[in-house]
Amino acid sequence: MRNARSLGIALVIILALVFVPFVSDSEKSYLIFFLFLTFCHIVLTQGWNLAAGYTGQISLGNHAFFALGAYTTAMIWRADLFRTGHYYFDPVTMALSGVVPAVFALAIGIPLLGKLRGDYFALGTLGFGEIVKVAFIKGGNFTGGPIGIMLPSSVYTTLKPHYWTALFLAVLATAVVYFMSRSRVGLALVAIREDETAAASSGISVLKYKVLAFAIGAFLIGVCGSVYAYYLFQVSPDGFLILKWTLYPILMCVIGGSGTVIGPIVGALVMTGVFTAANIYLPSIHPIFSGIIIILVMLFMPNGIVRLRERGAQGQ
């Protein structure tokens, strides 16, 4: 009963969001851009949440997946790979931009997750991110080096397709997390997080599930990178291969409540708001402010916003 109602509320909110661009002028209003950015953050946050929040495998290399997705889109477009000349929001290109990071996630996930636990996995993925960064900067003509790849920005007319695609992705990512958390897979993931040895001795293939969560996360993040490439039109190391794309989602996830379905959405909305406000009102010291917010939130509500209510309920 409660689930049916939550689902109903979610549907109403999604429908309302779908119609926002018809009401608000997407070229003049800041709202559309703000929501677009929030949706992107939700996708990235859910992607991280899947491996870290549910399975307990903290990845610090997700910006590499984001960049791999963006670069895949840019390279397919530049090379005119399908000979169609039409790559702007092309579903096949976008899907491939998710597949490439997912393949990378499998390739590094199997050895890293098989051998490393906890902090070591975090350090390993951090190393992976840095290797990808150096490789793209030094990649010569293939990757465009430090300048990156310029896409034909003349195709841009409005932000509306970005908005809807990002909304779709955010809903998709949340749905994936929701269904995984309620299925056998989700139970296996949580079991692994809580006690890996116990999970393994109950017959759960620990590595398989860890890698699965990691790769699905990478797929979602890669597609989001593709959408962001359609927005920036310049896919460069400075824009994509920066730790911000890993750290912000982690921050949003933990602030909202990691290992929950709603937490990443709340976290992404709140933090995108905070960052945007800080950017507008305190432009020069905005990152200092963000640093202080991170520390304060971690000190005073380390379990996230959505769990505040749980704790309140327990207290009674």
């Binding site: 906890g118 030094k138 971690m298």
Partner: protein
């Protein structure tokens, strides 16, 4: 490139690598102490080093205090800063099961420090130049920079002092006991907060020394620290956790590797090679290169 290679040049590369690697080593020892006792991946270590470099720069430009004269002062400031950081930021987080929290506090601190420095001292690179910073000692065809050599000597002294402290004093033994098994240490009466405060103070104290060594040797900017943290982490992984001399040695190996890779392959790839070695070590010898296989269950 190989046609320029002589024995002298190779030696020069090796020496430069070792001297610079000692800086990584210093930072790695700090990380090792903090990680060993509290399981905190203290990513802000590099930012603290750069902060100390700025303080050193400041004392030098404003009050004309020679960097090496200000060493004791900065060392004490860094020790106090370390103790303060633990008490204010990490005291609660350390007790929590979820290690994300302490990691994120460190990330927040890094953000805060980097950008504070960028606002306070502009993002332009700075360097200290005194009468002796450009002088060097020549042995045959070798040129050894005076400040780098002094930095290396300071790294060695600091490592020696920390090793003695950990082995000979009661508090040091408590720190080591806590990093091996916190529960057992608590059972025999070790106060974990006291131990953690000490570990943090010493870890950050070392970054004070590293800061001075960096400020006199290399140009630095507010964002220089993050890469330094990463390198220190690699050094730590190479040397193995919980070993002070291992961390220093790991740093030196990384310095050597980078110096040689920068010459034989190319400057930009040197970083990637450092990370690749790091990944390989994590995969095949996660206990570090110098630990004689102690496999934990």
């Amino acid at each position: 490139m190989l046609e320029y290679l002589t024995v002298g040049l190779l030696l020069q590369l090796v020496i430069n690598g070792i001297l610079f690697g000692a800086m990584y080593g210093l930072a790695a020892i700090g990380l090792s102490l903090i990680f060993g006792t509290m399981r905190i991946v203290f990513l802000a270590q590099g930012a603290v080093i750069v902060l100390m470099a700025y303080l050193c720069y400041w004392l030098f430009t404003l009050f004309h205090i020679d960097p090496y004269v200000s060493t004791p002062l900065l060392g004490i400031i860094a020790l106090l800063l370390g103790a303060g950081l633990y008490q204010v930021l990490f005291r609660r987080a350390v007790r929590m099961e979820d290690k994300n929290i302490s990691l994120l506090i460190a990330v927040g601190l890094m953000f805060l420090l980097e950008n504070f420095m960028a606002v306070a001292w502009t993002p332009d690179p700075r360097s200290i130049s005194t009468s002796y910073t450009s002088s060097s000692i020549s042995i045959g065809t070798l040129d050894i920079s005076f400040t780098r050599l002094l930095g290396f000597a300071m790294a060695m002294l600091a490592t020696g002092a920390v090793t003695l402290f950990l082995k000979r004093t009661f508090v040091g033994k408590a720190v080591r006991a806590a990093s091996e098994d916190i529960e057992a240490a608590r059972l025999v009466g070790v106060n974990p907060h006291w131990v953690n405060t000490m570990a943090f103070a010493i870890g950050i104290g070392l970054s004070g020394i590293a800061g001075i060594a960096v400020s006199t040797t290399y140009p630095f900017d507010p964002y220089f620290g993050f890469v330094f943290s990463l390198k220190a982490m690699i050094a730590l992984a190479l040397g193995g956790l919980g070993s002070v001399s291992g961390a220093l040695l790991g740093g030196i190996i990384l310095g050597l590797l980078e110096s040689l890779a920068a010459f034989f392959i190319s400057g930009g790839w040197a970083d990637a090679i450092g990370y690749a070695v790091f990944l390989l070590v994590l995969l095949f010898r996660p206990e570090g290169l110098f630990v004689r296989s102690i496999k934990k269950a």
